[in-house]
């Protein structure tokens, strides 16, 4: 089906109208029955909707800006974020945080390092924390989820008990515990702590959608045709189960960044601040929050905007991909 065909456009419009006018179930059903290839048209129409959805566009715009900033941050940052250029101005009592001045538009932090550069370069570590926490969480969840979802039976039961144990601790509390009990705190322990929270969530999600796939017609058909179990899992079940996982990942990116900040706030973050990271900057600004709130407000705003960007993107993706929410 080609998007240039005017008749196809019309059909899509029916879909859309049914979806967006808050129409009734009948409208959806009438429109839905003309879909010949539901899978393709779901993704295609999702993309069509997304393209026009301002919420998605804003979210994606913020995300894109953030990623680009993280990639080029080293180049565009006016100064080295690790060098205390203004250290000699720092006096703990009279001038703990040098203010804005030529070349340093936002001033410096308490070690005389350029605040603007730290904010810019901070995007990099922030992205790293977010992405790796999500990836680790996803990887862990995937191993468990695939084991459970693909094989079912006692494997499923065993894996889900493990997941239950993990899930039995309130999410952030698990992260706190892991970070607090890490032998040597570092960026990695922060990432692991934040990722651990996501493992059971991803595991559940994958298992759920894999189980749904297990009983779906195309998987049964593949089995009936004698496709090997491995191929069934990886070629037929996994790809189709990934939709919700992608959505969840986008949302997790946002929470990872916020959770990392919470760890720093409790003093459980990465103690080494040569490489700036927004959550760490916010956590460490506690000391100055009374007299020099800008030290906290800037990274906080960055975190809020980026988290909002990921959330907006994730939520609109979820809406677009979830056939149920299409009305």
């Amino acid at each position: 089906m080609s998007p240039t065909n005017p008749m196809n456009r019309r059909k899509d419009r029916i879909d859309d109208l049914a979806a967006t006018s808050g129409g009734t179930a009948t409208l959806v059903r009438e429109a839905g029955t003309v879909d010949e290839k539901p899978g393709v048209s779901l993704i295609a129409s999702a993309w069509k909707r997304l393209r026009r959805n301002p919420v998605f566009l804003i979210g994606a715009g913020i995300t894109l800006l953030f990623v680009v900033l993280a990639l080029v941050s080293r180049v565009i940052a006016p100064h080295d974020p690790a060098v205390g250029y203004l250290i000699d101005q720092v006096r703990p009592q009279s001038n703990p945080v040098p203010g804005p001045q030529p070349g340093f538009p936002l001033g410096a932090d308490d070690a005389g390092r350029d605040l603007l550069s730290r904010l810019i370069v901070g995007s990099q570590q922030t992205l790293i924390v977010g992405v790796f926490a999500t990836l680790f969480g996803l990887a862990g969840g995937m191993v468990l989820g695939i084991l459970a979802g693909a094989f079912g039976g006692w494997v499923d039961a065993l894996v889900m008990r493990i997941v239950d144990v993990l899930l039995s601790i309130p999410s952030l509390l698990l992260a706190f515990s892991i970070a607090a009990l890490a032998a040597r705190p570092s960026q990695l322990t922060v990432i692991i702590a934040v990722a651990a929270v996501q493992v059971p969530i991803f595991a559940r999600l994958l298992r759920g959608s894999m189980l749904a796939q297990r009983h779906s017609d195309h998987v049964l058909a593949a089995r009936a045709l004698g496709v090997t179990e491995r191929a069934v899992v990886f070629r037929h079940m996994l790809p189709n189960a990934l939709g919700p996982v992608i959505v969840q990942s986008t949302l997790v990116l946002a929470t990872s960044i916020i959770d990392a900040a919470a760890l720093s706030f409790l003093g459980l973050g990465n103690p080494n601040d040569r490489q700036p990271e927004w959550g760490q900057m916010l956590g460490k600004a506690q000391t100055y929050i009374y007299d020099y709130p800008h030290l906290a407000v800037y990274p906080a705003l960055c975190i809020i905007v980026v988290a909002l960007g990921f959330t907006l993107m994730g939520e609109s993706l979820r809406e677009a991909l979830d056939p149920k929410s299409r009305r």
């Binding site: 179930a25 008990r161 144990v165 039995s168 309130p170 706190f176 009990l181 706030f265 409790l266 988290a307």
Partner: protein
């Protein structure tokens, strides 16, 4: 039903047991810990050895675990070494629990009371400016780090304007303690100023703590109401010409609130984690505060008890949610 509850409780015991095992061995494998937390700079090899021996930390780890387990079965979970040295960790947990319950309850109350009506209105007026505005607020609410929000609230309303107390649970006005639920105690002992003071101390922390549950419950309510509004049975109800009130209550809300109940349950469990941050900002003497101190001082017994208790509470809350779900959803109840 009874069998279901018993099975779930047994499962909980299993989960807590496995968790205790994991925690115990993990904690013992860590460097530092109790001995260095107690001795500090003054530690000498002799005092260190003496303390290690006195605390039985030189015994094989499985012996230590066996001792821990037998003590735990007697209700002795070990003595705090950092939060409140010398006090049984379980006692600390029980003493602090009321504070966190008070805080969480109020936070949840605020969240639910605001989120459900707003979520409903939002869904009824989907895509209106009001709806869009509320959705944005809820998304921002999730994006703002809780502790930062808590700090802003404190800074603006307590420090700048002095409308609310900065921290703590109550002014030091000589209140009688009965249950350690300060608001309740004031009512029980007729020291109403105590209740008022406790309430005033609760406002900001609970508002801060309420933001995330509010945002989540609001969004689930909105989505759920939207879903239900599109359901055939609502159209059926409309086709019967029923009153708007009956349709809203009996046909829309009664169905739409089913997923909301689950969400509220999940959020209740999650409040404990938020409470760590909120209680820390407001120096609110609850479990979260104790946990933060225990983290910092490596108070392992307290950590163990608090984490295990948190897990148990979480599981129990989930069980209650399942039961509640069964009670309100006839499809589950009458299966």
């Amino acid at each position: 039903m009874a069998r279901f509850i018993i099975r779930r409780l047994l499962q909980m015991v299993g989960v807590v047991f496995v968790l205790s095992l994991l925690l115990f061995f993990w904690l013992r494998s860590l460097p530092g810990g109790t001995v260095s937390a107690i001795l500090g700079e003054r530690a000498t090899p002799e005092t260190r050895a003496a303390l290690t021996k006195a605390l039985g930390l030189d015994e094989p780890i499985w012996v230590q675990y066996w001792k821990f387990l037998t003590r735990a079965l007697r209700g002795e979970f070990g003595v705090s070494t950092g939060v409140l040295p010398g006090t049984d960790a379980m006692t600390i947990f029980l003493d602090r629990l009321p504070a966190t319950i008070e805080l969480s309850f109020l936070a949840l109350l605020i969240a639910v009371v605001l989120a459900i009506p707003l979520g409903y209105v939002s869904a009824r007026r989907a895509n209106s400016p009001l709806d869009s505005g509320l959705v944005v607020v809820s998304l921002v609410g999730v994006a703002v780090p809780v502790f930062f929000l808590a700090f802003l609230l404190k800074y603006q309303l307590s420090v700048e304007h002095n409308w609310f107390p900065v921290s703590g649970r109550q002014d030091n006005i000589g209140c009688t303690r009965v249950t350690n639920f300060f608001v309740l105690d004031g009512l029980l002992t007729r020291e109403f100023d105590c209740s008022a003071s406790a309430l005033k101390h609760l406002v900001l922390p609970s508002v801060a703590l309420a933001t995330i549950p509010f945002a989540v419950i609001y969004r689930i309510t909105r989505a759920s109401v939207l879903d239900v509004l599109g359901e055939d049975y609502v159209r059926t109800a409309e086709s019967k010409g029923l009153n708007a009130r009956v349709i809203r209550g009996r046909h829309v809300l009664r169905n739409a609130l089913l997923p909301v109940v689950t969400t509220i349950g999940l959020q209740t469990g999650g409040l404990l984690a938020g409470a760590v941050l909120t209680e820390q900002v407001f120096n609110f003497g609850g479990i979260g505060n104790a946990l933060a101190v225990a983290f910092q001082r490596r108070d392992y017994p307290v950590l163990e008890v608090l984490i295990l208790a948190a897990a148990a509470i979480y599981v129990i809350i989930n069980l209650l949610v399942d039961i509640a779900y069964a009670v309100i959803d006839p499809r589950v109840r009458t299966r």
